[in-house]
Homo-oligomer: 482 residues x 2
Amino acid sequence: MDSGEFRRLGHRLVEWVADYRDRLESMPVMSAVRPGEIKARFDSAPPEEGGRMEEALAALDRDVMPGITHWNHPAFFAYFPSNTSYASILGDLVASGLGVQGMSWETSPAATEVEEVAIDWLRQIVGLSPAWSGVVHDTASTASLCALLCARERASEFGQRGKGLQSGAAPLVVYASDQAHSSIEKATLLAGFGKAHLRLIESDERHAMKADQLERAIKQDLAAGLRPCAVVASVGTTGTTAVDPVAALAALAETHGLWLHVDAALAGTAMALPECRWLWEGIERADSVVFNPHKWMGIGFDFSAYYVRDPTHLIRVMSTNPSYLLTPHDAEVKNFRDWHLQLGRRFRALKLYFFLMDVGVEGLRTRLRRDLANAQWLAAQVDLAAEWERTAPVPFQTVCVRHVPADWPTFGRDESALAKHNLRIARAVNESGEAYVTPLALKGRQMIRVSIGAEGTKRRHVERVWALLQKAAQDEAVARRP
Amino acid sequence: MDSGEFRRLGHRLVEWVADYRDRLESMPVMSAVRPGEIKARFDSAPPEEGGRMEEALAALDRDVMPGITHWNHPAFFAYFPSNTSYASILGDLVASGLGVQGMSWETSPAATEVEEVAIDWLRQIVGLSPAWSGVVHDTASTASLCALLCARERASEFGQRGKGLQSGAAPLVVYASDQAHSSIEKATLLAGFGKAHLRLIESDERHAMKADQLERAIKQDLAAGLRPCAVVASVGTTGTTAVDPVAALAALAETHGLWLHVDAALAGTAMALPECRWLWEGIERADSVVFNPHKWMGIGFDFSAYYVRDPTHLIRVMSTNPSYLLTPHDAEVKNFRDWHLQLGRRFRALKLYFFLMDVGVEGLRTRLRRDLANAQWLAAQVDLAAEWERTAPVPFQTVCVRHVPADWPTFGRDESALAKHNLRIARAVNESGEAYVTPLALKGRQMIRVSIGAEGTKRRHVERVWALLQKAAQDEAVARRP
């Protein structure tokens, strides 16, 4: 492909993306294809001859699109908002076009320095003090893995440079709430601590970690000769956006010398709103914090923001310095390759830069407040509705609900049938194509998560998903009648 | 930004990318900015008000571009080719525009199934048997970390589900060549093995691992009560593209029950050429292999291809299955979130699909053969030139050279002065802006790597970098005269 053909196809695809976004609302949110259906539309062998871009674009419409679930759809209420703003798409286009590697400062100084600027803007936006140093990661999963590795190495005085976790020293222990994201368990296991040394601390009725239970667990482990190493505070759990008491956890972390990592993957974005910041009070006493601008904020995947208080420690854990990576400026610059797992680095900062220049901090705040208000509105409807329960507080934009029919056996008597009933409701909503929600089993109760915050989601979309949930519940009730 | 503004700016940026590529050759390859110079051009605080995209685009040209080192420049001979083809840019644009998450099959079936198709095409292209299952990773660093984690868990019978590496069992040991990429050491350390349990096996005069030394190390460790766990074979080392003897390593791995991981990050692409495949003879006996289509092949960063023989084992090591990630189709489909470290997944397969439809396997092979021929041409020139040494074999597209002036003290007598001399030569070439090469210190000798294979690199560019090297050497020689 020469630049002429690139121009021609590029213009077509810019129109294609804009057309796609314009007609998003008219499409079923969740793809209805069956397993294997998309695969079967493609040749099993690669094309020997090229020059088939027209065919590829036809396949995009004909064969790929039926298999797309539309994450930017205004009726997407599943998992988490995954906003890929227009400005972010443009920033990504420039990054792809440049095709530079920002692994070292020298390999493209602007990739490093624009990232320094943009990640520091983001720090200010969420109200973190200048004591934090930021870097762009790909996902919160890998950032949390980094955090636990840094904790491990601090506790073991850089054991990885010696015998690692195979030293035979007293085992290190990691603590998190029983509502922590699966990536925390994954990181603990991959970092080698062992599941036997992961304590999932009981959460309270608001699904936040019980600090007294954490303290008890730490003391038990100390008494057993183990070494408490790190605690992960969830600010906005995946299930219900519950918020662990960061300040109380920080106090315990300080007392016992634990690393405090804050996983605010979804909810960190809310900290752009000064009125939300009390929710992570104590954050300045943490060692590391991660949140995902690629979720609610509007920066296309992948873009995680990782902040640490001690970048020297992070670098010491992550750096290797072979001769082919040394450059004359290493003493004066940041080489972000030493700030995470990967070596190679895409120029991700452009997405954030374009986004912020396009919407401004005020524009971002306005949209986030809209989403919080929509969530409060839905919570109020659920609270007023007969036969519906709201199963968790709503500190952010996620509303967890479940339907308990009036003719149902006494509450709690047949939890498994009630679970099936709510799963059928969620499935009916999803298969309608009109909205997409996520079922969630929590502490033996089946609920339905309505995660609000797609860029295009207006009040009427929230009204509609609420109507769909009610209708599905009614249909199920009718279907159950003899 | 609404879709109208996106269309307007999108068209502008498509032209911008094409214009950039068209004038690439006229630009200095390496940015000449000083540390801090780019950063200083930006506000230290984020924009409160938005609507500033025009300003952002002006800043792109005025403030960002001077800090770009041009990886797709035809005179880019540093590090490794990092080809971001036009077709790949277009695939990435569509992926950004769709903004879907492919973490589970259900969250966008096409993202999973097109990836299954494309990664299997790639398997066929590099001549791997159907016994391999592939998945797209971001980088070889994380793929190799996955491989060592899988090795660790196989050797420990899923110790991570118990006491992990803190079990007190006999330590596990990892083996790699002393020429292995820094990411192998990093992965070993991060996976918790400890540097004390990493054996960097001596390489021969061709910089390939000595299989007999590996065998000796394994036996020593066994005698010392340690447990040999994994060996990493490098196919195309970063320094000189040396090739470890895969078949011999495979035999030892089989005898001693080691996991064999093959790191072919750069050179895997060469296996698209049947005439190169003898170089990794034995590959079918490995447990895992990674290579980076985001290097020489032409798929924009990031795109690593990771293949395993036992996907069930990989999934068992990497999976967590919280209720909010369960879907009705889990038994029938691939959920690629369980095939790597991250949970979130971008629709990367589109880049590869567009690329292959554009160039075809034959087009790819033609370009790769051009690059191999250019490397052989340069190697021949160096071999013929007085005062120049070729310091390594040239199995692929990288030529390692050094200049030893005729009036230099007897060879080997003043290695450090000779190192400085060659570093100055490399620096002079790089600062000329006409080409960009990477210095490399290897076994006490300073050399200069000329890594050929940017998409735009023709014979005349290789001729030019050779002329530049010779001129810089001459200038240095003159400068040294009293």
